[in-house]
């Protein structure tokens, strides 16, 4: 068990955080792609999202090991331990976001299988995906920099996503009531909207971790 210098530890911690940021960036791209394949009705892109999930799963395991090794060999105390523990939780959130993106891509595949074109051009759903991507990036930056302000920005974006989700929900209900032929696809789109809302919730979890790390206070930003 090698106890290294403070400098050596800082270096290992930075390396861990870089890996978390890298995983986050892949997850951001996955979110974007999952909604793009739906909007463009692109079967190949949908398959890519589904198959790409193993990469994220693999990264999660690697970073998890890195966290545990860092704890076991460096025996960090208090704040440092908290930072690593937060990292350990954050990668679970990232992995779940990737899973939801796979759910979206699978939904795109199911809609494609029906042969029915999109019942409407997608506007709010791509908007939600863009917002969610920004949230992931900002939440991770807030964690690395322990930036509370930025973490609260993420929480505000989450409220916006919730509003968009409610709007999509109401709009699709109207579609279904007016034309029963749209029911099946509208239901699928409802789930996509819900998945994006969940992705945003996971980004908000990361923002909560960042706030806890910076202030020692637990804030429930999700409601």
């Amino acid at each position: 068990m090698a106890i290294t210098t403070r400098q050596g530890f800082q270096h290992s911690l930075e390396d861990l955080q870089q890996n978390i940021l890298r995983m986050g960036s892949i997850v951001e791209q996955t979110i974007a792609k999952s909604v793009e394949c739906l909007a463009r009705q692109d079967a190949r892109m949908a398959a890519e999202v589904v198959e790409g999930d193993v990469v994220v799963d693999e990264m999660e395991l690697q970073i998890e090991d890195q966290c545990l090794k860092l704890i076991a060999t460096q025996q960090p105390m208090a704040k440092d331990l908290r930072k690593i523990a937060a990292g350990f939780k954050i990668i679970t959130d990232l992995e779940r976001m990737a899973d939801y993106s796979v759910d979206i891509a699978r939904t795109a595949q199911r809609i494609l299988e029906t042969g029915q074109p999109l019942i409407k051009p997608l506007i709010d759903i791509p908007r939600m995906a863009e917002l969610a991507q920004v949230m992931v990036k900002q939440a991770l930056d807030a964690y690395v920099r322990e930036d509370t302000e930025l973490a609260y920005t993420v929480a505000r974006a989450d409220d916006q996503i919730d509003m968009l989700h409610n709007q999509v929900f109401r709009e699709l209900l109207v579609f279904m009531m007016e034309d029963p032929k749209t029911i099946s696809q509208a239901t699928y789109l409802l789930f996509v909207s819900r998945y994006l809302e969940r992705i945003a919730d996971h980004a908000t979890n990361i923002a909560e971790e960042a706030i806890y790390l910076a202030t020692g206070e637990r804030k429930e930003l999700n409601d």
Copy 2:
């Protein structure tokens, strides 16, 4: 930083596991209650589920601290560290299950607000909830006892839940197509079914952790 005896450590580890089991048992009850309030259309019970969520959140934080303290003060190596790290992940899964139960209770509240009675007596949804509860219990036992057999039992129950979810999905689509007045409520019930399916996924995550702990192999039991 007190390094205690091996016996002292074992005692702390058992205490941690007892707390995780306790949290699991509360989550099981929450799942049961959330579907019961929906099936019985009981507004008071729904409110209890929503308000009870703080208890689970509080337990998660306490057990999280317990895990970190155990790591920091006892510096466990290899297998012991893995067991604590698995515990750390498991409580996140439990907390998310409780969140989904709150989602179900909130959905029950929304259906109640419409004043429309249930469009059909619920059969498959309560069945899913019962299965999910058993899965939570078995998955946690598999973790504590490092029982791979039991963990695979959980994975098989997850397949059953997925089948039930698909059945509910198809049935509700038929309802909506046949009578547009059912669309709004049927959509709510679809989400409930999906939440239960997600709860089962989280139980399966716990089973995966148990298998990893016992065998060192990562199995993807969710698909």
